[in-house]
Symmetry: D2
């Protein structure tokens, strides 16, 4: 970590700061330049409160050199983490297609879709039981009952299941869920992350709408620092000024995260774009830039005159997507 | 609500959608134009799932005319809400200065600051006990013990207190807290909002880093729809590309919110800017554009050679700020 | 176009507005709903000043249904435009790899790179002669002399050339340039666009750092409305809060633009990411989501100990990239 | 300037870089830490190409300590610059209200408004003659004729005038204009800036929609480096995800710029917000945080039933605004 002091900082103030830093078990190298004094802090700086340093009047700027995340950091763990979900593996060269409906609606619906996506190459079934909604007046999901139906679909197809948690107090309902998802809005719900860190279940952690990749890794660190290293990261679009798609899918997050961390990275083009016709091209692009998994919404209401073109793909569209993704992976790996 | 259908939508599809909307107790007016069919939906559209409509292939665009929030909507509640906190009032012409340290650190510290800010015109004492931190390795606050110390400061000075909750399971600790704060990162922690809606305590709801004002009002709606209408909104800066200040304080949020809602609006320039020298000008600007309250960080370590210029103001700076804010309010009211 | 009027608009005001709109040769359909009056404007609304309508006190919101761009609009020109640059074609199924150095530095440099990229599959040579730089103290390019050198490289290899214009007054220097590039910072330099619209040269128009896709198409419209329909659009990253890469490459722009316009769309992953190790994965992703061309920076200073890992690829890296792009295109087309 | 090198950088590479930097007349101090080598570059680093350094594979990060702008930098020019426009002064404690219509429309209109705003305290008349418009089909202003009318209004009232230039080739038309405005879209039209730097006229430079304050100062530097130091900076809103107002007025830019530069800073709340009812509160806020001037749109069509509530204020609203601004300035100065 480097701290640059203002030109007009007194010798006493400088010494005061150096003493404080040494009390934190840091070595301090001083370099006097034109216009500034540069302090290089050497040692374990991950526990240094950067915001506090920055807010000091005498400090012009603070810059981390070593990253503030440790357990998720590839520098300290060069090999890819492979997360195992039953027989399914994600990361380290293993790729998993995750598919299913946005919300669980009925036993018939979820079993039918589960069978359809399984036959098209999906390895994991997704489906929402607890649904975070902007409006209190919108459908909030089937909750515990939805999880029961997912478990029936798991039994019927053998597919492991992934579903979202919103509240620590419902954790017991997730006992037989294979992967617990943390949604974008809860990415910095730190108490929830810590509690999930005390489980031994794989966690799929979605990037917040306006969170940096470093913040995503710090949130993974909350889970890992409690002892759970089975974390899968998920890029699902960020909020920008552009409104042509629902969010801006930041695909460069995939190679950036692969360089910063050993954790697997999956991409969710369905929620990012919000439009079925954008899902396939963006899923292919995710495969091309090296994602370890892709999450796709698939629906199965062939009779629904309204649904063509909605955010979810039909099983037929998903078959084609799935095959092209496999072909692209053969080229880029 | 208006839904514009694509040019190539079949008569059957259009009729299918109209029937669906009528089942939701909506009247539908049809207007055929060049290049599009426009459906005007009339009735209670606050329960219509706009995302679902938008995702339909036949729908080109959906636009709300009536806002999706009801209880927080000024249209249905034209008079300003006045939130009462003991003898202190906020909103409807009443203004409150809220001040205190970022974190509670010790009994001596919090009582000393409480006395200092009280004598300079603060009406409410703020102080963090549970601290949301990006890093699991940073200080997480004194937690329950911090609340105990705030209550001692309340007893010593008579100032009501405000402090942040991060987790429903700690709600019992807030029994004697006067105002419960929901931080920016939890603005869409919907289960927390619902639970706070079941209390009868004033809630200070901070805007999320990347949340629109409409989303802020929808989160207020989560609290209000459970029966608690004592909600204070707080603008505390949004995340943009500019990094000269910590966040971009969006002061136009104050008059915009005043036109959309009857709830009081306070501004937190300390967290928004992260730099003491920006706090005073932005606090004065907040007063000038009509804020109902201002939250300021004040520290009291006169011996600390490092602290001058940090994010918090000294009690001396706060006195001056407080006086100028009063003068500006006399002009703009 | 739809205009929604406020609830409290008087009959006289409404009539006044309707008369005004009729004077613009628009038909107006009125639909009275709960809480609002909706006017549907029918006719050629591309000349209606939406900002003016929006700013009227009686107007709550204005929404275009038909897009404000006409000549670039796929609705009125369903077939893909194929831009021809000598023997090279872009768009309508034709793909072109564009490669070359960031700046032209010397005759030897540009000819060597031109030969290298040609042998690896590039169809067009890029190279900066006029360089827009944030600082007046940075190198501003070789200017006219740089164009001379590009023309020598063209002669030596037969590759058509593309280079950026910054100023109308230098247009004469571009007489033998094959494609004139408009940089991101000049995307809304409307006088420059109009002037280029009066040439008959293909124009590569880069998206501005903070411009929407609709604004990009409106800028294309400036060129096309003067009679030049040889416009190639270029996605090169947008400015967001994320700083892990230089900009956020918005790849969903490719399928979105393909649905809105018939113009070809190329992607520049070199400038978007600013880091060589991100260029290859993002170029492959661009190919996977259907780009009509990719622009890549390639350098040729094998002796330069500093350059490995810089933004530009080596010719060796470019060969591999070029081959994989071709393979991916075979899958996705 | 500090450059942090990657851990795996070889001794040869490091030496190569150091030699290169020394050739640029920089001194280099080396500080070896855990995990990184830190180079402190001492000397005139304003000419160092930071993007190039950053793009080198061996360089992990580059951080400026001394700012890249010199002539606009308060460090090298501590006293406020006072720009003189006839008898009117801006900066250094002098404040100017700038008012007028969005576009010049007729002689009657511009003279009437000029008289109205003069009597209400405006010191400078604004009015658009060349109008940058997103659409080529929108009204582009009265151009040269509009400037003629502004000059008539100047003659009639004695108010100096400010109007926007879009194109170097029209510079002759601005001979009698008092202040030349560069619009947000041209903030990085570097050739235009250089040309204006060769004039001796005051330039009002508007911040680009998505430009940082450092970039704004670098654009001022383009003008100043050609010999014209009469630059007035203008904050006019930035583009963010929030759409409740047209743009997000970044008022913290005012105190931030005052600390970084000696140039005067004015605020344009009319264009930033796009709504008349937001203009007054944001103008008062601009005065409260220390702006050196405020630009307000004022119209004069009392008979126009449509115009109440539009972006422009009526002369009556402007009188009140103007008086309150004066009162606030007395408090905050």
């Amino acid at each position: 970590m480097i701290a640059v002091l203002r030109k007009d900082t007194s010798v006493q103030q400088t010494q005061y700061l150096i003493d404080l830093l040494k009390e934190m078990n840091l070595d301090v190298h001083i370099s006097e330049g034109v216009g500034a004094t540069v302090l290089s802090l050497i040692g374990d700086t991950s526990r240094v409160d950067m915001d506090l340093l920055k807010s000091l009047g005498m400090v012009e700027t603070v810059k981390r050199i070593s990253e503030p995340y440790q357990q998720s950091n590839r520098k300290f763990h060069p090999e890819d983490t492979i997360v195992e979900i039953g027989d399914v593996k994600i990361g380290g060269g293993y790729f998993a297609m995750i598919a299913g409906p946005c919300s669980v609606e009925s036993e018939e619906q979820i079993i039918e879709i589960a069978q359809a996506v399984k036959s098209s190459g999906a390895k994991i079934l997704r489906g929402g039981a607890f649904k975070p909604r902007t409006s209190p007046y919108s459908f909030q999901g089937m909750k515990g009952e939805g999880i029961e139906l997912l478990l029936k679909a798991k039994k019927a197809t053998g597919l492991p299941i992934i579903t979202e948690i919103m509240n620590i107090s419902t954790l017991d309902l997730f006992n037989d869920v294979d992967v617990i998802q943390v949604g974008a809005r809860n990415m910095q719900n730190f108490d929830l992350l810590k509690e999930l860190g005390r489980t031994r279940k794989p966690i799929l952690l979605k990037r917040g709408l306006a969170n940096t990749l470093e913040e995503l890794l710090m949130s993974a660190e909350y889970i890992m620092s409690e002892g759970n290293d089975q974390v899968i990261l998920c890029e699902r679009g960020i909020r920008t000024f552009e409104t042509a798609a629902r969010n801006t899918l930041d695909l460069s997050a995939v190679p950036v995260l692969h360089s910063l961390t050993h954790l697997p990275v999956v991409v969710d083009p369905s929620h990012a774009t919000g439009k079925a016709k954008l899902v396939t091209p963006m899923a292919l692009a995710a495969a091309a830039c090296g994602a370890d998994g892709i999450m796709i919404e698939v629906h199965n209401n062939p009779s629904c005159a309204l649904c063509d073109g909605a955010q979810a793909l039909t099983p037929e569209q998903f078959v084609i997507l799935s095959r092209k993704v496999s072909q692209i992976r053969e080229i880029v790996i």
